[in-house]
């Protein structure tokens, strides 16, 4: 494997894009990434998407999007791992370019979620879980996270309000990101008074859906080394791990085994440990997922994720800033696109292009994208060269 760099990034604001079709969203992100990379064409396109087949009645996005952006004929395909589809696209592009079989590739995550009714979208999201043994019982995606969160609070003695700092931090950071779905800070009062959606998860524990697309251009590191018009970002670690699809099949439903494994492998590839990570683009689909992800990635002891948040360590001034541009909670969670937003935001931080949300001196960033309730987890370590 040769080293791989991210040469260009592009994104569209997460929101309700009533005027844009799925291909247009993907195209906007792709054209922005190509312009940023200052190249005109790539050899392959990998699309991260979960629900186009269900919500847009459109599968086969690889051919569709590559033709739309003028690349008819290139290698193209969709990769899917529910909410983890986005980072899986980057992973696929990295493997293709790293192997030498493809000399340049685009990874794009895209999802169009606001054309359909909430009930249809909820039902489509539930297909991330086990259809025969979970979803059939009417448990939603939020419901599965609620089952985990209640047991977590019971085992470790946390109160609901102890999770408030996760939501407050993400919204504070999202307020500094022009591409975020929500750009207003929230108070603890707002968190505590939010309506319940699946107890103990309330509206402020959950991330909002949205339409979105984010893309990155991936090339061999040696090809672009020394072209120092700005800090070059390399993919220093990349790993995918899986767990049982159903939460009930895990020996310990309160531990994200796949998150731990993929982070460990990515750290090892990069030759670092969690102490050296400057910031962490975390999969805070729900407050409880942020806590579990911090623990699995080695930033907190088992059951102690909320303590890290309560002590202020997750803010931009803390020891491990998370969701630095709003995370899923405030930037938004356009499911199959989310993992690519995390990557794009990490590159913004590492280049020093994160504006008022900039983490000073950021050199090493971790991104972690979680599919379903932890069944597929993709971790990437990104570094400045």
């Amino acid at each position: 494997m040769q080293g791989v760099a991210i040469l260009g990034i592009g994104q569209v604001p997460v929101g309700e894009h009533w005027d844009k079709r799925l291909v247009e969203l993907a195209g906007d992100a792709i054209f922005a990434a190509l312009e940023d990379a200052q190249i005109k064409r790539v050899e392959a396109l990998y699309v991260g998407n979960m629900m186009a087949g269900q919500l847009d009645k459109q599968s086969h996005l690889g051919a569709l999007i590559s033709d739309w952006v003028g690349f008819r004929g290139i290698e193209a395909m969709t990769v899917e791992a529910a909410c983890g589809s986005g980072a899986l696209a980057l992973r696929t592009a990295m493997v293709a370019v790293g192997s030498g079989l493809v000399s340049s590739a685009l990874a794009v995550g895209v999802e169009k979620m606001t054309d359909t009714s909430p009930r249809e979208t909820t039902a489509a999201l539930a297909t991330a879980a086990s259809a025969d043994w979970e979803s059939i019982h009417g448990v939603t995606f939020v419901g599965l996270n609620a089952l985990i969160m209640r047991r977590y609070m019971y085992e470790y003695g946390w109160k609901h309000e102890d999770f408030a700092p996760f939501s407050i931090n993400s919204h504070a950071n999202g307020a500094l990101n022009p591409n975020a779905r929500f750009q207003s800070p929230i108070t603890k009062e707002i968190y505590l008074k939010a309506p319940m959606i699946a107890d103990p998860i309330n509206l402020m524990d959950a991330s909002p859906i949205g339409d979105g697309a984010a893309a990155a251009v991936v090339v061999p590191l040696d090809l672009v080394k020394g072209m120092n018009h700005r800090p070059l970002v390399k993919i220093a670690g990349s790993a995918v791990a899986t767990d049982s699809l159903a939460v009930h099949d895990r020996h310990d439903p309160l531990w994200l085994t796949a998150a731990e494994k993929s982070a460990r492998v990515a750290y090892n590839q990069a030759g670092i440990g969690p102490d050296e990570v400057d910031f962490f683009e975390i999969h805070d689909a729900f407050s409880i997922m942020a806590a579990l992800s911090l623990e699995a990635c080695g930033f907190a002891e088992r059951g102690q994720g909320p303590r890290l948040a309560l002590e202020g360590e997750i803010t931009r001034e803390g020891s491990i800033p998370i969701a630095t541009l709003g995370g899923l909670k405030a930037r938004g969670h356009p499911v199959g696109a989310t993992g690519m937003y995390q990557v794009v935001e990490a590159v913004q931080q590492l280049r020093g292009e994160a504006g008022p949300a900039q983490i000073e001196g950021a050199k090493i960033g971790l991104t972690q994208n979680i599919g379903g309730s932890g069944a597929t987890v993709i971790s990437h370590v990104l570094m400045t060269e």
Binding site: P118, R119, E120, T122, A123, A126, D132, W133, E134, S135, I136, H137, G138, V139, T140, V142, G143, A146, L147, I148, R150, R151, Y154, M196, I197, A198, D199, P200, I201, S244, A246, V247, H248, D249, P253
Partner: protein, 133 residues
């Protein structure tokens, strides 16, 4: 939803029929043919008692299509006394406050009514507070 898809799971939905691993004796539900504990082949049928306790629970207020008529309804992770954990709805709760660790037993009920043109009704296991004998 297709009828065969549900018909072929009737033994599990109506009778909690799982498997026991002939190599390590692990009890397995739902059946999966490869033992998750030892990796050996496991195709020996095993009938679960339907007794267990609540590991966790939640109330669903935003239901997917096909489940709207019972909003809000309660879903739980139930730890079966033979070992495995399963996801199911709780029913017949009355005024009893729910808590983790509460003993429950299986009962067959309507799980969902399909909103599609065929109007398929799907029955299967739910759990209710244990009626002490």
């Amino acid at each position: 939803m297709d009828i065969p898809r549900h018909w072929r799971l009737n033994k599990q939905r109506y009778a909690l029929t799982g498997e026991v691993c002939p190599h390590c004796q692990a009890k397995i539900f739902p059946p999966r043919d490869v033992c998750p504990e030892c990796g050996g082949e496991a195709k020996t049928e095993f009938g679960f008692s339907g007794k267990g306790e609540i590991y966790s629970y939640t109330n669903i207020y935003n239901a997917p299509e096909g489940y709207e008529e019972n909003i809000p309804y309660t879903v739980a992770l139930v730890k079966l006394e033979e070992g495995p954990m399963i996801t199911a709805q709780l029913t017949d709760l009355g005024d009893q406050p729910l808590e983790i660790g509460m003993p429950v037993e299986m009962i067959t009920r309507k799980i969902r009514s399909d909103g599609d043109e065929r109007g398929l009704l799907i029955y299967g296991y739910k759990f209710r507070p244990l009626v002490s004998a």
